[in-house]
């Protein structure tokens, strides 16, 4: 879709402004005029222009000073300087200060057309580059989403059904299960796929940083805000915004977020202008948001606004069938990226992986395989290449009693059923330990 280029003409001569205005209007551009630098800067505060065509010699603030000021506000502005009194010094100075080009008035109609076409091309290319960069990031990992287990097949079906809609989605699941991949898969299969998917890791940012990150800021809004900066909502225009660890945001941010989701508009930190953006929101959390709502830790209205669709990504221990597939996939992925010959995995190592509980889920499995390829012999991954070699399969206990029983049994075994030594290690008296042995019906090995 072709974007309409907007042009701001800054010149103190009415006839020049009118001539350029008519010329550009006939070319189909959006055009506005300012008779001096002050008016231009004021227009730039409330509107964005793709190209600024400015005279150098103007009463009051001259064009070069205006160029520096605009560049300090918006460093990627495309500014073309015009002059009737060309000197090498001013041309060099203008280009040093970041002007896109420098032209001498009057110019040939063809030169003017070329100049604007080149500037428009530059703008289109840099915007396209930004969109493609986001798209590559969003697509490069989607294929990691693999699995034949029932749990994973359900997730894939849900992704397919939700992709075509604009509904908000909350993805839940333990850390490392691939929630962001699910979000990227939804985006990559949606009509918004040609626009960016912008990710924000809410848990990694303080409240004020998150606010600036999401809404953007104006120059001088706070210490360190040396440029105007687009927020993530603005960057996600026509695309998708992915808010990871949504449960960690403060009550104040919950209110702000709710307002933005309802109006799809916001104001940059330190700014006044209302900015609109058309984005789809996908959130992820490893916490029980409903329980947080019940405890008053998360706003109910925001929860319902976000939770139009819920996708639960199962932990790896509930999809053991997928481990061989994932191992095979990660071996191929890392052998390829490290430029190594394809490796295989020893049957005993694979069996051990299938028994491992993987508290860190797929992320942990992926890291293990990557490490094994680095440290291995280059042909076959064996048990010794895996960091789980010395670890035992963690027992899973449902109750505290089971946990206590198992622990006491281990300590008694460790101290060869010496009750005094075991009680000392457990920091209980001997009577208590005898009571526990009776309660759990523990027996010394014969």
């Amino acid at each position: 879709m072709a974007k309409k280029i907007s042009i701001l003409i800054v010149d103190d001569e009415q006839s020049v402004r009118d001539s350029l205005y008519n010329w550009f209007i006939e070319d189909g551009y959006d055009v506005e005029c300012a008779e001096n630098a002050t008016k231009a800067l004021s227009l730039l505060e409330s509107s964005n222009f793709d190209i600024i065509l400015a005279d150098i010699k103007m009463p009051g603030m001259d064009g070069l000073e205006m160029l520096r000021r605009i560049k300090s506000l918006k460093k990627d502005s495309v500014i073309i300087m015009m002059t009737a009194f060309a000197t090498v010094d001013t041309a060099v100075q203008a280009l040093k200060d970041g002007a896109f080009d420098y032209v001498t008035k009057p110019f040939d109609p063809d030169d003017l057309s070329h100049l604007i076409r080149n500037a428009a091309k530059q703008i289109m290319l840099s915007e396209e580059n930004e969109i493609l960069r986001e798209k590559v990031i969003s697509l490069e990992n989607v294929e990691d989403l693999i699995g034949k287990s029932e749990g994973m097949q359900r997730v894939l079906r849900e992704i397919e059904s939700v992709s075509q809609s604009n509904a908000s989605v909350i993805i839940t699941g333990e850390s490392g299960t691939g929630k962001e991949l699910v979000a990227r898969a939804i985006h990559a299969n949606s009509p918004r796929k040609y626009f960016p998917m912008v990710s924000v890791h809410c848990g990694a940012l303080s409240e004020s940083l998150l606010e600036s990150e999401l809404f953007g800021h104006e120059k001088g809004a706070f210490t360190g805000a040396v440029y105007n900066r687009k927020g993530r909502f603005e960057m996600a225009d026509n695309g998708t915004i992915f808010l990871d660890e949504i449960a960690t945001i403060s009550t104040k941010m919950q209110v702000e977020l709710l307002r933005v989701l309802e109006t799809k508009s916001f104001v940059r930190v330190g700014g006044h202008k209302e900015i609109s953006s058309d984005f789809r929101v996908i959130c992820a959390t490893n916490r029980d948001l409903k329980a947080m709502v019940d405890k008053g830790l998360f706003r109910e209205d925001l929860f319902y606004r976000l939770n139009v669709v819920n996708i639960f990504v199962p932990p790896l221990r509930e999809r053991l069938d997928d481990i061989p597939l994932l191992v095979d996939y990660f071996i191929k992925k890392y052998c390829h990226s490290m430029n190594r010959p394809m490796m295989t995995i020893d049957a005993s190592a694979l069996k051990r992986l299938e028994e491992f509980p993987f508290p860190g889920n797929i992320r942990e499995l992926e890291n293990m395989i990557e490490r094994a390829i680095v440290v291995g012999n280059g042909k076959k991954i064996s048990l010794k290449d895996l960091p789980l070699a010395k670890e035992k399969k963690l027992p899973t206990f449902e109750s505290l009693d089971d946990l206590e029983k198992n622990h006491i049994q281990q300590i008694l075994d460790k101290y060869s059923w010496n009750v005094t030594a075991s009680a000392k290690a457990l920091k209980v008296d001997r009577v208590t330990l005898y009571n526990k042995i009776r309660k759990y019906d523990l027996k010394a090995p014969k």
């Binding site: 006839s15 009118d18 001539s19 008519n22 009057p106 110019f107 040939d108 109609p109």
Partner: protein, 184 residues
């Protein structure tokens, strides 16, 4: 949508061969499906002459046409044989108020002789009708077209004018809301 005027008026300033004017009138009538009137205008062009640039001020001439000759009932195109400029550009072939009542076009830079080539009346008429229809297109609300052969394609050299047709592409015609003359 562009409102339809009663007619198009061409006002010639300075000497024009009758044959040239008659030819372009036919083509304009054909393209816009409106009656075209032609008459002579009388302006002291020396008032619009810029001694530094040795050209005639296109902005002021357009303003004069708008003030003295235009009306809401018709579109008025001033035809000149002098070299036109606007302050920011070294020359113009013509200009018009977008979706407005007035425009101007000059034959001066359309002549082969200006470029050291032998004169060719057929080529000159072809260029002039394209320029006139182009400026009238702006007055009917059309902006420049990217279709390389559409008459609304922007032309900065005579060679560009020679590359395009003297008629509107289907897209521009649909915006103009004038029936296709070939399908009447």
């Amino acid at each position: 949508m562009v409102g339809k005027p009663e007619n198009i008026t061409l006002i010639s300033f300075g000497y024009f061969e009758k044959e040239i004017l008659e030819m372009i009138v036919q083509d304009i009538e054909q393209e816009f499906q409106l009656p075209v009137k032609i008459r002579e205008g009388h302006l002291d062009l020396s008032e619009f002459f810029d001694v530094n640039r040795k050209q005639y001020d296109g902005n002021r001439l357009l303003g004069e046409i708008e003030a003295r000759y235009s009306s809401d009932n018709h579109k008025t195109l001033g035809l000149f044989s002098v070299d036109l400029f606007i302050p920011i550009l070294t020359y113009i072939f013509g200009q018009a108020f977008l979706n407005g009542r007035s425009g101007i076009a000059s034959i001066h830079r359309l002549k082969n002789e200006r470029y050291g080539i032998r004169g060719d009346k057929t080529v000159l008429i072809d260029r002039f009708r394209k320029e006139a229809i182009h400026e009238l297109g702006h007055m009917f609300g059309l902006i420049h077209c990217t279709n390389p052969v559409c008459v609304m394609r922007s032309s900065t050299y005579v060679e560009d004018i020679d590359q395009k047709n003297h008629i509107f592409c289907p897209s521009c015609r649909s915006k103009l809301l004038v029936p296709d003359p070939d399908k009447r």
